[in-house]
């Protein structure tokens, strides 16, 4: 209606903070001309919880659990990045078995995260059947992780200096069974996303990013790799047990949404291979070394490859019981630029898929200070709330 009266006025479609396309709150303003997107902006911070400030008030052990809760999907990589950083500051090395178990859980987590993404991306395109099937199969990994670690999401597998639990034969068998089931399924999904006519209609040549663009926009992880930029911390700067269990970088050249599907699904095969290799060649030894509660002063950078890309931790210790500064730069933050840059020119219908294409994690972006406003902090009783409703509509 606005457009009829004032044809020059822009028509902005707000996506978020609450929107069915977003499983977490974020806010996009998509300016459209009919169905064509002409501009896009982003506003973050709706799930800002003050974690970076919060950990400054926690001791080194407690901080790890707070950081683990930055993200519900890639929780383990956060704890691993932090634990590796703190161990580097303290000059301690976790035993090889612990490092292998960290990598094992990280790869299982990558499998669960990529299958989750496959479902979400399919759902954004309105392909609910693929969504249901990939999530059904993802349940296998969730069960395995639950049996192995005790929790389905925040595994809390790390302690400072090692890991909490061992992988014994029953767990190894359970993991192998799950992988054996998932491998043919993954081949099937790869076939679906590369052959299904309707899905290809929504993904091929959509959101294409050349490798030069991907490099200048500073993208990381599968988003960069789909454009042929081989950025993978597991290969570039192997950490934990990755020097012993090397992975191959998967890249594609097309740079469109289909390439992102293909890269992520092919990474699953690489993960399956690494998981099997670790189970076969798990080094013997202790699970953890003891750490002192005080960490010597210093600064360190800890980088880990999360399912979404490079996770960057900067840790600073002042020699006390608490961290002095923890800076977390999550992969999603790097990749936003690519969505905003590629969206103009596409149809509005493509936008949810473009957003989903980078596998965004809003909670990861948003960290930092609880807002307590005394004036509004008031508990309403049910009766009062009801009365308010009656008054309001009178």
């Amino acid at each position: 209606m606005d457009t009829q009266q004032e044809p020059r006025k822009t028509f902005v479609v707000p996506i978020g903070p609450q929107h069915p396309a977003l499983k977490e709150p974020g806010h996009f303003e998509i300016t459209v001309d009919g169905e064509i997107v002409t501009a896009a902006t982003v506003r973050l911070g709706y799930v800002h919880r003050g974690i970076e400030k919060g950990v400054e008030q926690q001791n080194w052990t407690q901080a790890m659990y707070m950081l683990e809760r930055i993200c519900g999907i890639c929780s383990h990589v956060h704890a691993t990045a932090y634990a590796l950083g703190v161990e580097a500051l303290a000059g301690v090395q976790a035993p090889p078995r612990a490092q292998a178990i960290r990598v094992l859980v990280a790869e299982l987590e990558r499998v669960h995260s990529h299958l989750l993404w496959l479902g979400v991306a399919a759902h954004e395109g309105g392909f609910d059947t693929l969504f249901m099937y990939s999530w059904r199969d993802r349940e296998m990994i969730m069960d395995v992780l639950e049996g192995l670690t005790g929790n389905r999401v925040n595994y809390s597998c790390n302690v400072l200096g090692g890991v909490k639990f061992d992988v014994d034969d029953t767990h190894a068998d359970a993991i192998r069974r799950a992988i054996d089931f998932l491998e043919p399924r993954t081949h099937h999904y790869l076939k679906v996303v590369t052959t299904d006519e309707t899905l290809i209609g929504r993904t091929r040549n959509v959101g294409t990013m050349t490798s030069l663009e991907a490099e200048t926009l500073g993208t990381v992880g599968p988003t960069a790799r789909a454009s042929g930029v081989p950025r993978d911390i597991r290969v570039d700067a192997p950490y934990a047990a990755y020097p012993d269990f090397p992975v191959k970088t998967i890249t594609a050249t097309a740079g469109d949404l289909e390439a992102k599907f293909v890269v992520r699904i092919q990474e699953l095969f690489e993960s399956y291979r690494v998981i099997r290799e670790i189970l076969d060649k798990l080094p013997a030894g202790d699970l953890a070394v003891r750490m002192k509660p005080r960490i010597p002063p210093g600064e360190t950078v800890s980088r880990v490859e999360a399912p979404r890309g490079e996770l960057f931790y900067f840790l600073k210790s002042a020699g006390g019981l608490n961290p002095d500064r923890v800076k977390v730069r999550t992969p999603s933050l790097c990749n936003w630029g690519s969505v905003l840059a590629t969206a103009p020119g596409h149809k509005l219908a493509d936008v949810p898929m473009l957003i989903a294409g980078i596998d965004p994690c809003f909670s990861c972006n948003d960290r930092l200070v609880t807002v307590r406003r005394r004036s509004t902090a008031e508990t309403w009783t049910w009766a009062k709330l009801r009365q308010y409703g009656i008054e309001y509509y009178r």
Partner: protein
């Protein structure tokens, strides 16, 4: 089968009013259940659609600012009345239509379009951006599938030599199933029906991941409930029409249940097989493929006669 019913009974109970509403919800449940089973889920229990409607009817209806209240309240009623009226001219439940006259096929098709038209207007009536985009898409889609759908249904009518639904039904009962003699028309009509009902993959007018609920975004409570029932009844009427024309007519209730059920199974499978089409893809598909197929079929029939 042919039973004479007093007009009031026909209107309020069978095959009108009460029967349509309850049968419509049953068909909605069957559709949801089948899609769920195709996706390896359990799906809703049998009373879920009824429970949804009851809940919606009991809810407060919020009238947003900036709408024309008469249109806002009136359009759901128009949509529902349109579909309910359409049901009177089709062989509902295998019975002869309650009312029948020459050319009632055209009237029925227009009454069925009233639903989409009301939804488009309802969306355009609000100031909501999602509704506006949804309304544009709904009407765009209406103009694209309507012509091929109409032509596809004309095929059996031409074969029967009558534009009266009861005559076509009677002709279909006495001849080969027209799904075999006119397979192209059947395909176009089936896909057209899915487009009419905005079922996946033609659900871009209400694509939830882009525009929330499309034209229905601002509706809550009664209005939304009426639109939902209207859509259920439209599903029922559409399936009945398809079964009567293409699946050898509807002679009795058992045939009705089996044939419409079979059609529902096919539409449910099609719903779960595809990725949602963008509106430009939908329109492109209809004008490039759908209408050509329907036209070819029509010309072939005209020559054969």
């Amino acid at each position: 089968m042919n039973i004479e019913l007093p007009p009031l009974v026909a209107l309020l109970f069978f095959p009108g009013g009460l029967f349509l509403l309850s049968a419509g919800t049953v068909y909605e449940w069957a559709d949801r259940k089948l899609v769920a089973r195709f996706q390896n889920r359990i799906g809703p229990r049998w009373f879920q659609p009824v429970a949804d409607v009851v809940k919606l009817l009991a809810k407060e209806e919020i009238v947003p600012d900036g709408v024309n209240p008469v249109l806002f309240h009136g359009l759901p009623v128009v949509a529902l009345v349109g579909t309910l009226t359409a049901a009177l001219y089709v062989p509902m439940a295998g019975m002869a239509p309650s009312y029948s006259f020459t050319g009632d096929l055209i009237v029925t098709l227009y009454l069925l379009s009233l639903m989409t038209l009301s939804m488009g207007l309802a969306g355009a009536n609000t100031l909501d951006r999602f509704s506006l985009i949804g309304a544009t898409r709904a009407l765009t889609q209406l103009f694209s599938y309507e012509a091929p759908f109409l032509m596809a249904l004309l095929g059996p009518a031409i074969a029967a030599g009558s534009w009266q639904i009861s005559h076509v039904d009677a002709y279909a009962q006495g001849h080969w199933w027209m799904v075999l003699t006119q397979p192209v028309g059947f395909l176009v009509a089936l896909v057209g029906l899915m487009g009419k009902l905005e079922l996946p993959p033609f659900d871009s007018p209400e694509a939830e991941t882009e525009i929330v609920a499309g034209p229905m975004t601002e509706y809550s409570g009664r209005g939304w409930a009426l639109f939902r029932i209207g859509r259920d009844v439209e599903l029922l009427v559409g399936l009945t029409l398809m079964a009567a024309f293409y699946l050898g007519g509807l002679a009795n209730p058992i045939e009705f249940v089996l044939k419409t059920g079979g059609l529902l199974l096919v539409t449910a499978a099609l719903q779960s097989l595809f990725c949602r089409l963008r509106i430009d893809q939908t329109v492109g598909m209809w004008w490039r493929i759908g209408i050509l197929l329907a036209l070819a079929q029509l010309f072939l029939l005209a020559f054969m006669r």
